[in-house]
């Protein structure tokens, strides 16, 4: 601050000089910021780009660093989709079924279960909620092992005929993720924001709790519910460990788990596996790009609690 207090800051040449200096500085700062931002973006995106262009090359030195493909062909994609080694299209179907059923079930369950916890009065309500919440904090190392044992004991992996087996194997994959504590937490949080007067008024008018839930709570909490549905979709689409551990029929594997299978069987043809990886990423990128706003909101909501 070198300007003397007597000069008018809007007209003095000194002030104009300072403004110009400030503008130059801002421009320099912005330039530096863009440089850093672009560098990070390259580090984040190049691996995907590199996988894409390599998957499009018919031949050549496969793992070489490059900026453009040395040739273009879809033969690696044909190799994956023709499904001679791994039933890729079947896996797409599996993933779609698992995601659809999983998202619908977990959203419905969480949306229903959150209602009494948020807006109904009964003894021990908060205790139940905090007990459920504590499960997230509680170390759950043995989870995989015990859930595996449970799945076996429930007989979900026994052979009883083709149609029945398909259903039970899907159930074995989906069931452990249906009761989502995060979902319960998020949706309860949204319900808490609904004014109690609205509900009391409906109760006085003789509405049943289920009607109140359907006509008042659900519509008013839609943004949060949508955000949770997206989160759940991404999680289900990406999950692979659980399905890989279950002794499933290879026909039943979802995409992410199937991709690892592909990398095993295509050990000599990594390009085909790369094509498979691209095919696994594309749907999730489309979903993410089109619903990005809800997505970020859902995560922010989770932080702010």
């Amino acid at each position: 601050m070198t300007t003397s207090p007597k000069t008018d800051p809007t007209t003095s040449p000194q002030a104009a000089h300072l403004r110009a200096q400030k503008r130059r500085r801002t421009r320099l700062h912005n330039f530096a910021a863009y440089t850093v931002l672009t560098t990070i973006a390259l580090v984040m995106l190049y691996p995907f780009y590199w996988t894409l262009i390599t998957s499009l090359e018919p031949t050549g030195n496969i793992y070489e660093a490059k900026l453009l493909p040395s040739g273009l062909s879809l033969k690696n994609y044909a190799a994956v989709l023709s499904g001679t080694t791994v039933p890729f299209l079947r896996m797409v179907l599996n993933s779609v079924v698992i995601c659809t059923v999983g998202v619908i079930a977990s959203v419905t369950f969480a949306a229903l279960a959150a209602y009494p916890l948020a807006k109904m009065r009964f003894p021990g309500r908060d205790l139940i909620f905090y007990a459920i919440l504590a499960l997230v904090v509680l170390p759950n190392e043995a989870g995989l092992i015990v859930n595996y044992i449970t799945t076996i004991k429930l007989g979900l992996l026994e052979q009883r005929g083709p149609v029945w087996d398909t259903i039970t194997q899907y159930a074995a994959i989906v069931l452990p993720s249906v009761a989502s504590i995060i979902g319960l937490f998020l949706i309860r949080q949204a319900y808490m924001g609904v004014p109690i007067e609205l509900i009391e008024a409906a109760r006085i008018d003789g509405a049943k709790e289920l009607t109140i839930w359907r006509r008042i709570m659900l519509p008013l909490s839609m943004p949060t519910i949508a955000a949770f549905a997206i989160l759940e979709f991404v999680a289900l689409w990406n999950s692979f460990l659980w399905a890989r551990i279950l002794p499933l029929d290879p026909q039943m594997l979802p995409l992410s788990a199937g991709l690892l299978e592909l990398s095993g069987t295509f050990a000599t043809n990594s390009r085909a596996t790369m094509a498979g990886a691209v095919l696994v990423i594309i749907p999730i990128l489309i979903v993410f790009a089109s619903l990005q706003r809800y997505f970020m909101k859902g995560i922010e909501g989770a932080v702010k609690g």
Binding site: A33, V36, L37, I40, A41, V43, M44, L45, P47, F48, W50, T51, N61, Y63, E64, A65, A110, L112, A113, Y115, P116, L117, I132, L135, P139, N140, E141, A142, G143, I145, V146, N147, Y148, I149, T150, L175, A179, I181, N238, S239, F240, L241, I245, A257, L259, L260, S263, S270, A277, V280, I281, I284, L285, A289, Q292, M296, I299, E300, V303, K304
Partner: protein, 277 residues
């Protein structure tokens, strides 16, 4: 409510109870669990492989400060009102929404001996192209850590961004008018304001570092020569390769206790995330 609770009990509560019980038994699914007391824990103490797994898991904690500092930096960068900032935010989030199965495979290829990573390192004069980072016992763990870092930055960035936006600009601008330097603003206003977020984020990343598994599962399977064999990979291998479910459950409990301890240390270090110091 009831179906939710039932599934919750089955898949969330039951594993904790039954898992704890299993830790004191010998169990292979086929015959019923046989109670053996503390035998599993006694064996664990003497198990070299388990301890080297624990050591690797603890080494993995190195990733936590890097991931947190970088995400705070990136969050502050994308918090600026620049043109096209939405593109950058989205770009950084792409690795987050991609499956570990895909990410792990991509980086396994990127790390190949003739691959892009070696290409860059060679041109920076940091290494000769003699082997892949993943095949070298000295570097494999760090190579996997880098993938965790790369995939995690976008996730924590979003959380920090939310934290930054809840601080608001008024306070920072007031400080600038009072003549504070950028660094003073950062240390005295931004950082304390972010403390609750820092607690949540460092807690999450500490616990997931101790429990690192999926990256290892896809990229190295514990190798080469056990250099990426982490505590939870031990847990997995004992259960699903050796079918020693009781022993694996005992290892799981030890890992849980370790991550709990580090969680508490974290809690202390961030002073419980209180905004006032």
């Amino acid at each position: 409510m009831l179906p939710f609770l039932a599934l919750l009990m089955l898949y969330h509560t039951w594993p904790v109870i039954f898992g704890t019980y299993l830790a004191f038994t010998k169990y292979n699914i086929i015959s019923p669990p046989e109670f053996v007391g503390l035998d599993n824990f006694r064996e664990l103490i003497k198990d070299q492989q388990f301890w080297s797994g624990v050591v690797n898991s603890l080494k993995y904690l190195l990733v936590v400060p890097f991931i947190q500092l970088l995400s705070i930096g990136v969050a502050m960068l994308v918090n600026r009102p620049l043109k096209g900032i939405g593109f950058f935010r989205t770009a950084y989030y792409v690795p987050v929404v991609t499956s570990f199965a895909v990410v792990g495979l991509i980086w396994t290829w990127m790390y190949q001996q003739s691959g892009p990573v070696n290409f860059v390192l060679m041109h920076l004069g940091l290494m000769q192209r003699d082997s892949s980072l993943l095949n070298n016992p000295g570097s494999a763990l760090y190579a996997v850590m880098f993938v965790t870092l790369w995939k995690g930055i976008g996730y924590y960035m979003v959380l920090y961004l939310a934290g930054l936006q809840s601080i608001g600009r008024e306070l920072e601008e007031a400080a600038v008018i009072d003549g504070a330097t950028r660094w003073q603003v950062f240390v005295n206003i931004t950082l304390p304001g972010l403390r609750p977020t820092i607690l949540v984020c460092s807690l999450m990343s500490t616990i997931s570092a101790v429990k690192v598994f999926e990256e290892i599962f896809v990229m190295t399977q514990g190798g080469p020569v056990g250099s990426t064999y982490t505590a939870l990979f031990f847990n997995y291998a004992k259960a699903f390769q050796d079918f020693r479910y009781g022993y694996a459950a005992a290892a799981g409990i030890v890992v849980a206790v370790i991550s709990l301890v580090f969680g508490l240390i974290n809690f202390k270090m961030t002073r419980g995330g209180r905004v006032d110091g």
